[in-house]
């Protein structure tokens, strides 16, 4: 494994499968009454969050604690891009405190890579979401969840068709998933209005559809992305109603999905906008599993980066 996890591109297919397999084992342990492993005892992991994300932070916190690491939560929100303490000074502080691993969430794309490249600190850096770039552990937990339901938790995802629907342009989850799913052999289709796809998306190894209903019954997984209401003001789409009608997963579309199709969402959901309540709560939905699996996948990541060998 590498020293850091900054991007899915850092991982080979073998690395990725190793994380998933390790997560599988760790998940079994966390189902026992005593949920803790001594692996990272005495190691310090800092959750460095420059952006609010309670769900991701507590997921990493639970993962680190189940491996017996000491966890420090460093909420740096308010230290906005131009004001407050710089990333460099924060890193120097963490170095002085002896952090072995830093889990960083930051609004600027590339912040995790800067932290890793600049030698301001020596610990492992784990990207927990950087701007609109990547969110690698989210993609890993999504792959874990897909594998659990459609591949009996074995091997890769070859042969599966995955639709990623919504605001791909601003989504770090989509970028990480595109890379990982491709690595694991799945076929990805991006479904979005052209305004919410990056220019040059044709250079990605994906299919692109502007029409959600086309091929709807052929997907094995439908992954809905959160749409921020503010995007409407920047003219990305005319209205919430129109967006929801054309790209939302409503009851009618839900009924047209294939029998075993999984419905996924990285959360937090805008119920009624990109996903209807009946879709989110349907038997096809594995959204709660995604959250649960997040802990196991993050345990595996920390274990392999900091405690392996």
């Amino acid at each position: 494994m590498t020293t850091h996890l900054l991007s899915i591109k850092d991982l080979t297919k073998e690395n990725a499968l190793n994380i998933l397999d390790t997560a599988e084992e760790l998940a079994r342990i966390t189902e026992t009454p005593v949920k803790k492993l001594p692996t990272l005892r005495g190691r310090t992991i800092v959750n460095l969050f420059f952006e609010d994300s309670t769900r991701t932070r507590i997921s990493f916190e639970a993962a680190a604690k189940r491996l017996s690491a000491d966890v420090i939560n460093f909420s740096a929100k308010g230290s906005s891009l131009s004001k407050g303490e710089s990333l460099k000074d924060t890193a120097l502080t963490l170095q002085a405190m002896g952090a072995d691993g830093v889990v960083i969430r930051h609004p600027a794309s590339g912040a995790a890579q800067r932290l890793a490249d600049q030698k301001w600190m020596t610990g492992s850096v784990i990207n927990a979401g950087d701007g609109t770039h990547e969110h690698p552990t989210q993609a890993l937990l999504d792959a874990f969840t897909i594998r659990q339901h459609l591949k009996q938790s074995q091997g890769d995802l070859s042969g599966l068709r995955v639709a990623i629907v919504g605001d791909v342009l601003h989504s770090r989850v989509a970028r990480s998933n595109v890379h990982l799913l491709e690595k694991l052999g799945a076929k990805v289709t991006l479904v979005a209005p052209p305004t919410l796809l990056p220019v040059a998306v044709e250079s990605w190894k994906v299919a692109v559809r502007y029409d959600f209903d086309e091929e709807l019954n052929e997907y094995d997984v439908v992954m809905m992305l959160r749409v921020q209401r503010e995007r409407m003001d920047e003219a990305f789409f005319p209205s919430e109603r129109e967006y929801s009608r054309r790209f939302g997963l409503n009851g009618e579309r839900l009924s047209k999905l294939s029998k075993d199709c999984l419905v996924m969402h990285p959360g937090p959901m805008n119920r009624g906008l990109e996903i209807s309540a009946d879709s989110a709560d349907s038997s096809k939905s594995v959204i709660v599993d995604q959250v649960r699996n997040g802990v196991a996948v993050r345990m595996a990541t920390l274990y392999l980066l900091l405690g392996g060998n």
Partner: protein
Amino acid sequence: MSILLKNVKTASGDLVEIAFESGRFIEPKDASKEAQVIDGKGLTVIPGLVDLHTHLREPGKEDAETVLSGSKAAVSGGYTAISAMPNTNPVADTAGVVEQVYRLGQVHGICDVFPIGAVTVGQLGKSLAEMGAMNSSEAKVRIFSDDGNCVWDSLIMRRALEYVKSFDGLIAQHAEDPRLTHDSQMNEGAVSAELGLKGWPAAAEESIIARDILLSEHVGSRLHICHLTTAGGVELVRWAKARGIQVTAEVTPHHLLLTDEKARSYDPIYKVNPPLRTDRDVQALREGLADGTIDIVATDHAPHPAENKECEWAAAAFGMIGLETSLSITYLAMVKSGLMKLEDLLPKMAKNPAQIGRYEGHGELKPGNWANFALIDTSAIWKVERTGIVSKSKNSPFVGSELPVKVIKTFFRGNEVYSQ
């Protein structure tokens, strides 16, 4: 007393003698018998370079650069005339500020510092600055630009172009439609899509160039396009010149060499406005410079203190320094690549910019002109070291690179102002 420079080569390789007296070039035969002789064996003499796009940060941000430190950086790169962009604090939008900058240059006496005046008050694009007063001032400003702020309002741009005609001025436009580039971080394309950095589309540059060319044709005024970066922009300028429109254009050394692939490092040393584009654009810029579509090379020397680059990409300032590496980088991109000969490249860095700026006595080694020149070693290879950078700011993307062509000495008005 006259001074005679012997044993030097011209850019085309001919051995020549160069003579000067009282700060100006004279015919070597007119040099006095007891003339002091400088032996330039092995070196090439070039006219003092002229930059039409420099940021000096004084007044207002003297920790990044001053007129003095910028002048020293300039002469170490072979420049003897630089043009100070108006985005200082206060903005150079009045006769008072441009005179202050001009006088500082004269007092230091290292090179000429010609201020560029703002087109609009505070560079805000709303109302015209007193361009007439800046022209009549001691600084005799002829070039006006709102620098990093594009004059986006079509009516203001039209009026500015018309207004400066009365004193043979020109408007230097930073072509960037602000509505298409809000918060933009890098060139919009395959790399920005992957990196999740907000894109700055080529169309935002080209649409303004197209509009301004048409305005320039309509009112018959001189238009200068700053730092062209796109293949489409080169095409537009080529079209305009073919129609006889009075448009000139510049390209920076870094846009002739670097592409947006550099952003993959997320190192904001490569963050610059307009952004680094694709390889296809770089090739088009090189061709445009070689065939005369692009008139000049300009540095867009943009000093920033370390803390504005030692951070995440989005938080970093736009810009890179360039005065000290300009000749080497341009040589690398144009001469080493076989596209141009040095003697054809130099006019784009000296004679042409002097002509566009109406900088009299600059740009050519000819009797009557100021004795502004540099001696360079065209066979030298030198490594850019951070500690060797003369500018107050060290934000060069070329630190660590080995570059061709070294400036050995620079003379301004007959005085040696730099020696390596």
